[in-house]
Structures are given as structure tokens and as C-alpha cells.
């Protein structure tokens, strides 16, 4: 199976639960499980090659110029993690199916879980660090969704936000580190970076890259002092805690350290930073775990501690330590997931997970007791279980590593860590299961059905089998360790008995000390209180409060609800940017002579200038302002005609008409006068407006007096309009052919705008707006005759002519000024005239188009025309044309572009009519009720 398919499978699986949840949560879980199992089978099928030391690769170039490609690589390390992710994922899906309560939205849960699974699988299989970063952030996001799954609980929301803030911030920092690393290595492919190890370590940027990358890894893997988010993440449903926050996601940081181990490790910086952080985390997490009474919190802190252990091992920098680290990843995942799932069972069956309220469950839940005890003993490092093996290897390495000038420092501290670890493991067993049975469990406990115990049982089976026969795990662990250190490790032996070594003595001390610690727990209570006080994430809270207050202050300063202020700021910034550009770069010489000005044009210009200058002074009289706008629009259209733009002139003048009609309809309701504003304000705005006008005018003047700095692409369009597009009107050919895709998008936008208008008007026709609409009384005297006979007769006579003109403009559009846009507007005006002259009721009774359908038909026709090109084997919207002779007519040209233009035409008619008709319906409704009121009152 291709790696690409393996990576995609969980994401496809994420879609299944959403669809299948209607058939029940069993089906949804089965769908997700099927995708997971298929991906797992794909990975397992590659194992023989991986064990042979090969790597399976798959590659898809994405943005090769940026060094970004979807390249995946399955080697030993990736295989170990992929098996953990998919294997435990399968168990978790099965367990969650029975764990979730009836009220929980299970489909969403499985979708989030599969999303996470895909992201995590992406991390471990990526061979490109940029791609890895994308999956990395995706795991943070899906973890956020899963922690906040019970979104009605405040602790779930807070925990989700905290986890996201810490891990995503770390991820952002790591992006910078990865870019630096890629810059040093000259490649973003991990397989290349790993080979460039010596060059990277010698680079002056090495400390920077190392620091940034470590921050990302440490936040993700909950290393001290960033560990505090992990216990809060326990607000998630228990399957999530088992899966994300112990077995897989928190190991992403560990994975990354292992992945980049050949490139980054081996320097004093690496050794001291990574080892120390790991060591402190191990001791800290273990100490806090010792005093927790919430089962999940205890397990969370123990997870922190064990992650610290693995990080420390990677810090040592020796091959044997890397082997121990990889082995412990496998062992920890199995026993810790089993423990979390057992904790879930206990909470499910007893109604609490507080060990002070438990105890004596040994006889009531014998199966759970057996499973949890085996897993906890493995965590404690008891022989014949898998936790013992890797802990023994860790102690052996620690005893031979010089730290702070001596070998005994690490030996002592790691033994202490193992001792406390044994202590909390024993405490968990004793306080939960041993002791007297109680009378006051919240609910009567008993062992669960197979749905809940099967998953932990299988995990415990791994714990025991690997513990008894470590050689079974050897190929996988050796291949993974080999991939980490970049050497053949297939010669390693994993065994229980190494002889009488220092590590054996340290192990014995740890187990005995752990048992002693358990008996002394009451006397050490003061230490627990002190630790609890220290571990409060006060710094995080302070940072968050500060950031929140700062953000609120900033947005309040920028956005205080005064729109004029925001717009003024916008204009000011634009002015400043323009002014800076003007000042910092010189202007070339003027290369174009001015065109002469005929007197008629000067008159038109004068009309435009006077109207525009007058508008700001007169605008408070809104009807008059509308008249001035009409004059300006007319002058602009005439200007277009004079300056060789007949298409623009036609469009401008028709749009002008419908815009004015629209505004008049709105003014029917709105006040006819604007309120006066203080002089100072007006003066300020006038100053700003004048500056903006001067700037824009100067810019366009400078442009027009100079030729193009570089040849433009216009010549191409002129040359190919006829030969390629089959039309002589170049503007129309650009619209329907060269840039047909843009036009297609535009008519869709226009259609959406019309639908928005319809929806807005529809809202106003409902309560409570409707009541206000009906209560509205006209503030202007009404005309005596709403539908004057002259107007009615004229518009009805003109209608067929206007429609004919529309058809004419449409048909000639490809070769002469005109086309779908203009024709649509002309036809709309002809129809709107009927509304205006004869009234809405009369017009609607006769115009039986559904404007929505018209818009839809227009977009559909345009789209189908484009698709038609596919059947000729050409790209979307490639046009074709030919010449046709129909008997009564002359030979004429038929281009597919005409069909496209028909789509444009229909959409424009539909959109304009829908907009205007929506507004008319408002007036009609208000007037109708007004008349009724007149009759009754």
C-alpha cells in the first residue's frame, strides 16, 4: 500500500462517522475502525522491508520551489510510532464505542479522533519538516477539540485552551527553528538534514535552531516547566487521555527529538539541556504524582515523569540510551494506555476516580484489578513485565554517564526517580483495590462488559508477553533504534537477566524504597501540600490575563463602534503610505503629450466638477443629492464614449438607472434629510477628503502622462481576439473568453448578492421588523394617482421595443459594443419600468418568472458551457466557434461564448430584478397596510 494512501486513510475515516452516525454509533465506530485497520495493515505489510533496514518512501511534489513537497518515509522509527498510533487507535475506537454516554455526540467524537489519528500519522511518516509542521499543528488543533469535547464543562474548555496555547505556541516557535535548520542544511527533507549533521552542529546558527526546536518539542511532550497543560487536559474523555495524552500525541516531541537525533545530538548544549530538562521533569512529575488522589491526575503526572525519562535518555547521546528510549516509548504506551483505560472503567463503574473514596475493589472488580495491577507493576518496574526491561536499560546507561563531573550524580538521581515511580504505582494499586470494601461507593461497582475490558486486556497482554519474551519485540525496537542513530542495530539483544549489574542493584533499591515510601505516605503529606502550591501555573495565568487585557485594549482603541473613525484611520494610513511612496521614489520624465480638449468635452467636465463639488454641501437634502449623483454618472458615461470605451458607457448608463431606482425605493423609507453635524468635524473630514482627492488625482495624472514601463499583455488580447475568441469586440471577448473564469466567478457573486438582498428583505417582512414596517407612515405627501395613465400606457408600449433592443444588444455583443451584461441591464430596466408604472401587484401577476431560478439558470448555463469544453478535450471554458447558415438569414457566426454570455445575461436580469423586487415588496407591504388603515380608520 502506498504511504500516501496510508496517510490519507484516517482522514477519509474521519468522514465516515459523520455519515454513518445515523445508522448508530456502532456503525460509526466500525467505519472509523475499518479505515484504521486498513492503514495498520498497510504499515504491517511494509514491515519485512523495514526490518531489513530499508525505508519505504513516497513523494508528491507540491511547491518544489519553496522546498515543500509531500514526501513520506517509513523507516523503523516511523513504523514503531505508526503501529502504536494505529494499533492503540483501533483499541481506543472500540473502547470509546462503549464508554461514551448516550447523550454524548458520538459521531463528532469519532471524527475528531480520526482527524487526530491522521495528523499524528502524518507527523511520524513525513520526510519533509515543513509538511511535518502542518501535521504538528493539526494535532494541537484536534487535541483542542478532543479536550473540549464536553464543552459544557468549564474545566474542559479551560483545559482545551491551555493545551492549545502551550502546544501551538511551541509549534510556532518550532516553525522558526525548522526554517533555520532547513537553511543550514540546505534542504527541508529530513533524510537530507540527517546526513548534514556535522555541518549543522558546526554552524553558528546551531544554538538558535536547537533552542527553538527544543521549545517546540518540550511544550508538546509536557516537559518541565511546560508540563502543566497535561494534567489539565485530563478533562477530556478517558479514551482521549489514554490515546492522545499518554500513548501518542505527547510523544510527538519525543519523536521529533529522536528523528533529528543524528543532526542535533552529540554536542554539550544538547547533552546538558536535554538531559537536565528530562531529569527534572522525571523527578518533578513523579513527586507530584505521589500525592495526587485523582486517578487520572496521578496517571497524568506519571506520564509527565516517564516522558521526562525518555527525553533524558535521548539527551545522553549514546546509541544504547537511544535504544532504551525507543523501547520505553513502546512499553510506556502499552502499560499507560492500559492504566488509563482501567481508570476509565473504575470511574464508569463506581462513579468516582478519587482514590480516597475507593479501595477494596479487589473482590468487586477482579478482572479490572488484575489488569490494572499488572500494568501498574510494569510502571513500577517489577521484573517479568515490560516496564522493568526498559527501566533497567535506563538505569544501566545512567550509571555510566558522566554528568556534572561524576557518574554517581545521574545514578543517584535516576534511582530516586525510579523509587518514587515505584511508590506511586504501589500506592495506586493499594488505595484503589486493596483494603476494606466500602459501603459508600457512589454506584455499586462490578466488572464491566467485554466492550470495556477487551482493549486494556490486549494492552496488558503486550505488557506481559514483551516482559516475558523481550526477543519478540527485538526486530521492531532494533529497527526503530537503528533509524534513530542512523546505524545498523540489528545485533542488539533484549533480555531479562543481564547478570549482577549496578542497574539490578539500583532497581532493587528503587522497588524496596518505593514500598517503604508507601508506608510513610502519611508522614510526607506536608511535602505534597508544598508541591501543590508550587505547581500552580501562575505564570501562565498572568501571561494569559495580560495578553487578553492587552488585546482588549488594542481592539477597543481601534474599534470603538464609531465607523467614521475607522474609515478616517483607513484613509489616513492610505495617505501616509501613498505619501511615503511619492516622497521616497522619484518620477520619471513625462513621455506622453496631453490630448486636446474640444469645447463640448470641457462643458461636460465642468458639469461633473460642479456637481461633485456641490454634493458635499448639498448632501443633506437626500433627493437632491441623488439628482447630483445621476448627473455625475451621466457625465462619466459620456466621458467613456469620448475616450473610446463604448462598452463601458453602455454599462455605466444602464447601471446608473437601476442604482437610482434602487436608492429611490430605499429613500421611500429613510429620512429625506440628514442631520447636521458640528462644523469642526466637517472641517476635519473635508481636510482629509481633499488630501485624499489630491493624492489620487496626482497619481493618475502622473500615470497618464507616462507610457507603460514594460510592455503589457493587452497586445496579446488584441491580436488573438478574432483568431482565438471568434469576436471582434475585444472587451467582450476578454469577458467571455480570455477571462471567462473571472466572469463566471463574478456572475456567481452577483447572484449571491441578490440572494443576500432577498434574504435581508425577507427578514424585514417577518416579526418583529414587520410590526415596525407596518407602523411606518409616509413622511411625504402621496401623489393623487399612484399609477398615472400616461406613464402606464407609455411603458407598456415601450416594453416590446425595449426587449427587442435588449436582444439586439445581446446578439451583437460579440462583435460590437454590447453583450450579456448590458443586455441584461437593459431588459431589467424595461421590466422595472412596469413595476414603477403599473405597480407591484400588476407586474407580478404578469411577470411569472422566478428570479431565483433565473439566477440559477444563468450560472448553470455558463458553467455547462465551460464544462462543454471538456468533451472536446480542452480546459474549462475554452470556447469554440464556427459559421452557420440558416435559410432565411444570412451566414452568421455561432460561438460557444454566446452561450456563456447568455448565462451572464440571465444572471444579470435575475439578480437586478430580485434586488429591486425585494425592495418593492417592502414598500408594497407598508403601503398596503397603510391603505387598509385608511379604510378602517
Amino acid at each position: 500500500m502506498s504511504l500516501l494512501l496510508i496517510v490519507i486513510l484516517p482522514f477519509l475515516g474521519a468522514l465516515l462517522p459523520a455519515v454513518l452516525i445515523r445508522s448508530g454509533r456502532g456503525m460509526a465506530a466500525a467505519g472509523a475502525g475499518l479505515a484504521t485497520a486498513a492503514a495498520l495493515a498497510g504499515v504491517l505489510a511494509h514491515l519485512p522491508r523495514v526490518f531489513a533496514g530499508e525505508a519505504v518512501v513516497a513523494r508528491l511534489d507540491w511547491l518544489p520551489a519553496l522546498g515543500l513537497s509531500a514526501s513520506f518515509r517509513l523507516d523503523g522509527l516511523a513504523a514503531l510510532f505508526a503501529i502504536l498510533i494505529l494499533g492503540i487507535g483501533l483499541l481506543i475506537l472500540f473502547y470509546a464505542r462503549y464508554y461514551l454516554a448516550k447523550a454524548d455526540p458520538a459521531g463528532r467524537f469519532f471524527t475528531y479522533l480520526m482527524l487526530f489519528q491522521g495528523a499524528m500519522l502524518g507527523i511520524v511518516l513525513s520526510d519533509n519538516i515543513l509538511l511535518l509542521l502542518i501535521f504538528w499543528e493539526l494535532t494541537s488543533l484536534s487535541s483542542f477539540l478532543l479536550i473540549g469535547y464536553w464543552s459544557h464543562r468549564p474545566d474542559a474548555r479551560a483545559g482545551a485552551v491551555m493545551a492549545l496555547v502551550v502546544t501551538a505556541t511551541g509549534g510556532l516557535v518550532m516553525i522558526a527553528g525548522m526554517l533555520v535548520l532547513g537553511g543550514i542544511a540546505g534542504s527541508y527533507e529530513i533524510s537530507q538534514i540527517v546526513k548534514a549533521g556535522p555541518a549543522i552542529r558546526d554552524s553558528g546558527l546551531y544554538p538558535l535552531a536547537l533552542g527553538l526546536i527544543l521549545l517546540g518539542a518540550f511544550t508538546k511532550s509536557a516537559q518541565f516547566p511546560f508540563h502543566f497543560w497535561l494534567p489539565r487536559a485530563m478533562a477530556a474523555p478517558t479514551p482521549v487521555s489514554a490515546y492522545l495524552h499518554s500513548a501518542t500525541m505527547v510523544k510527538a516531541g519525543v519523536f521529533l527529538l529522536a528523528r533529528l537525533w543524528p543532526a542535533l545530538s552529540g554536542t554539550p548544549e544538547w547533552f546538558y539541556v536535554v538531559t537536565t530538562v528530562g531529569l527534572v521533569t522525571m523527578l518533578w512529575g513523579a513527586s507530584v504524582a505521589l500525592f495526587r488522589t485523582d486517578l487520572k491526575a496521578l496517571l497524568a503526572y506519571s506520564t509527565v515523569s516517564h516522558l521526562g525519562l525518555i527525553v533524558m535518555l535521548l539527551g545522553f547521546g549514546s546509541k544504547a540510551a537511544a535504544l532504551a528510549a525507543v523501547f520505553h516509548v513502546l512499553n510506556h504506551a502499552s502499560f499507560k494506555a492500559a492504566l488509563f483505560l482501567s481508570a476509565g472503567i473504575i470511574e464508569h463503574e463506581t462513579g468516582t476516580r478519587d482514590i480516597d473514596r475507593l479501595g477494596g475493589l479487589r473482590r468487586l472488580m477482579p478482572l479490572t484489578f488484575a489488569l490494572a495491577t499488572l500494568a501498574a507493576l510494569s510502571m513500577a518496574g517489577v521484573p517479568l513485565l515490560n516496564g522493568f526491561l526498559s527501566k533497567e536499560m535506563m538505569l544501566e546507561e545512567a550509571a555510566h554517564t558522566t554528568y556534572l563531573g561524576g557518574v554517581w550524580v545521574l545514578a543517584a538521581l535516576t534511582t530516586l526517580g525510579a523509587l518514587i515511580s515505584a511508590g506511586y504505582s504501589f500506592r495506586l494499586i493499594v488505595l484503589t483495590f486493596l483494603g476494606q470494601e466500602r459501603e459508600d461507593y457512589p454506584t455499586k461497582p462490578h466488572d464491566p462488559a467485554i466492550g470495556l475490558w477487551l482493549a486494556p486486556a490486549l494492552l496488558v497482554a503486550v505488557v506481559v508477553v514483551v516482559g516475558l519474551f523481550p526477543a519478540l519485540a527485538r526486530p521492531l525496537v532494533a529497527a526503530a533504534a537503528g533509524a534513530v542513530v542512523g546505524a545498523d542495530m540489528s545485533g542488539v539483544v533484549l533480555k531479562i537477566w543481564h547478570g549482577l549489574t549496578p542497574a539490578l542493584a539500583m532497581s532493587a533499591i528503587a522497588l524496596a524504597g518505593g514500598a517503604l515510601l508507601l508506608t510513610q505516605a502519611r508522614r510526607l503529606q506536608w511535602a505534597g501540600v508544598a508541591l501543590a502550591r508550587l505547581s500552580a501555573p501562575a505564570v501562565y495565568a498572568a501571561i494569559m490575563t495580560g495578553a487578553e487585557a492587552g488585546a482588549r485594549r488594542l481592539s477597543a482603541a481601534l474599534h470603538d463602534g464609531a465607523m467614521a473613525r475607522s474609515l478616517a484611520a483607513l484613509v489616513l494610513v492610505a495617505l501616509a503610505a501613498g505619501g511615503w511612496a511619492f516622497a521616497s521614489a522619484g518620477l520619471g520624465p513625462e513621455t506622453r503629450a496631453m490630448l486636446p480638449v474640444p469645447p463640448v468635452v470641457a462643458v461636460g467636465w465642468l458639469a461633473l466638477i460642479v456637481a461633485s463639488l456641490w454634493l458635499p454641501f448639498l448632501h443633506r437634502d437626500r433627493l437632491l443629492a441623488l439628482v447630483l449623483i445621476g448627473i455625475i454618472g451621466l457625465m462619466v458615461s459620456i466621458g467613456f464614449i469620448y475616450l473610446s470605451a463604448p462598452d463601458l458607457a453602455l454599462t455605466q448608463i444602464t447601471v446608473e438607472v437601476v442604482t437610482v431606482v434602487l436608492m429611490l425605493l430605499a429613500l421611500n423609507f429613510l429620512p429625506k434629510q440628514s442631520i447636521a453635524e458640528p462644523f469642526a468635524l466637517r472641517a476635519r473630514d473635508a481636510g482629509l477628503a481633499s488630501a485624499a482627492g489630491l493624492g489620487v488625482g496626482a497619481l493618475i495624472y502622473a500615470l497618464m502622462r507616462r507610457d507603460f514601463a514594460a510592455p503589457t499583455i493587452s497586445a496579446y488580447h488584441v491580436e488573438n481576439a478574432y483568431s482565438g475568441g471568434g469576436g471582434t469586440n475585444i472587451v467582450n471577448v476578454i469577458l467571455v473568453d480570455f477571462r471567462g473564469y473571472d466572469t463566471f466567478g463574478e456572475i456567481i457573486v452577483l447572484g449571491i448578492a441578490a440572494l443576500v438582498i432577498f434574504a435581508l428583505a425577507d427578514v424585514m417582512l417577518r416579526r418583529p421588523a414587520l410590526r415596525r414596517l407596518i407602523a411606518w407612515t409616509p413622511d411625504q405627501p402621496r401623489a393623487g394617482d399612484a399609477h398615472p395613465l400616461m406613464l402606464v400606457v407609455t411603458t407598456r408600449l415601450v416594453l416590446p421595443v425595449a426587449l427587442m433592443v435588449g436582444v439586439y444588444i445581446f446578439l451583437r455583443g460579440h462583435n460590437a459594443p454590447g453583450g450579456g451584461f448590458v443586455a441584461g441591464l437593459v431588459v431589467s430596466i424595461a421590466l422595472v419600468m412596469q413595476y414603477m408604472a403599473s405597480g407591484l401587484a400588476w407586474a407580478e401577476a404578469r411577470l411569472r418568472f422566478d428570479y431565483h431560478a433565473l439566477i440559477g439558470a444563468g450560472v448553470l448555463i455558463a458553467g455547462l458551457t465551460g464544462i462543454g469544453a471538456w468533451f472536446a478535450g480542452r480546459p474549462f471554458l475554452t470556447s469554440a466557434f464556427g459559421y452557420v447558415t440558416l435559410p432565411p438569414l444570412e451566414k452568421f457566426e455561432l460561438a460557444t461564448a454566446m452561450a456563456f454570455d447568455l448565462g451572464v445575461f440571465l444572471t444579470v436580469v435575475g439578480a437586478v430584478m430580485l434586488a429591486l423586487a425585494s425592495l418593492s415588496r417592502l414598500s408594497h407591504r407598508a403601503h398596503h397596510d397603510e391603505r387598509k388603515r385608511g379604510e378602517t380608520g
Binding site: G561, A564, A625, F669, A686, L688, V731, L735, F821
Partner: protein
């Protein structure tokens, strides 16, 4: 001619900016309409001004004006109608809902 077009753009921009800085909806709508004119003419003029050379292929033509800005402006004119219509409806809805056509929220008014 260039000076006339430039001054027209300048005056229309100034009027448009002044109007969008008003505190009531209708002048702001008028202002956006004015700014649309100004921007459309601006875009059109970036193709440089030419008289009597429409972009329609003909055997007798001695040259053609730049068709590309015209195509851009044509769609811009149509879209600006759609935008104006939406804004007008929003203004109307706000007026019917609140009883006045002030544009600012209650707090922070100058």
C-alpha cells in the same frame, strides 16, 4: 484632456471620502457610489487616454485603445451595483430595526 480626467477623479474621490465619513447611512451609501465612479475612472485611465480608437476590430481602424482595463472596469461597474444594493438593504434594515439611520454604535460616538 489628461488634466481634466485627473481633476475629475480627484474631485470625485474627495466628495466620496467626505461622504463616507458622515454619521448616517444614506450619505455613506452615496459616498461609496462616488468612490466607485472615481475608482472605475481611475482604473480605466491606467490604460492611458485615446480618442476614437474603440477596441472593436475593424479593417479601417488605425489602432486600438487598451481593452484590458475596460474589461476590468466593466465587471467592476456591475459588481459595484451589487454591492450598493446590499449596502442599501442593510441600511434600510438597520433603520427599520432601530428607528434611526445613525451609523455608529451608541458608545464611542464623537
Amino acid at each position: 484632456m489628461e488634466a481634466l480626467v485627473a481633476s475629475a477623479v480627484a474631485v470625485m474621490t474627495a466628495a466620496g471620502v467626505y461622504l463616507i465619513l458622515r454619521r448616517q447611512t444614506f450619505p455613506v451609501v452615496l459616498g461609496t457610489a462616488m468612490l466607485s465612479y472615481a475608482v472605475n475612472v481611475f482604473l480605466f485611465a491606467t490604460g492611458r487616454l485615446v480618442v476614437n480608437l474603440p477596441p472593436v476590430l475593424a479593417d479601417t481602424a488605425t489602432g486600438y485603445t487598451d481593452p484590458l482595463p475596460q474589461a476590468l472596469v466593466l465587471t467592476a461597474i456591475v459588481i459595484s451595483f451589487g454591492m450598493t444594493a446590499v449596502v442599501v438593504l442593510m441600511a434600510l434594515g438597520a433603520f427599520i430595526a432601530s428607528g434611526n439611520d445613525d451609523i455608529d454604535l451608541g458608545e464611542g460616538r464623537e
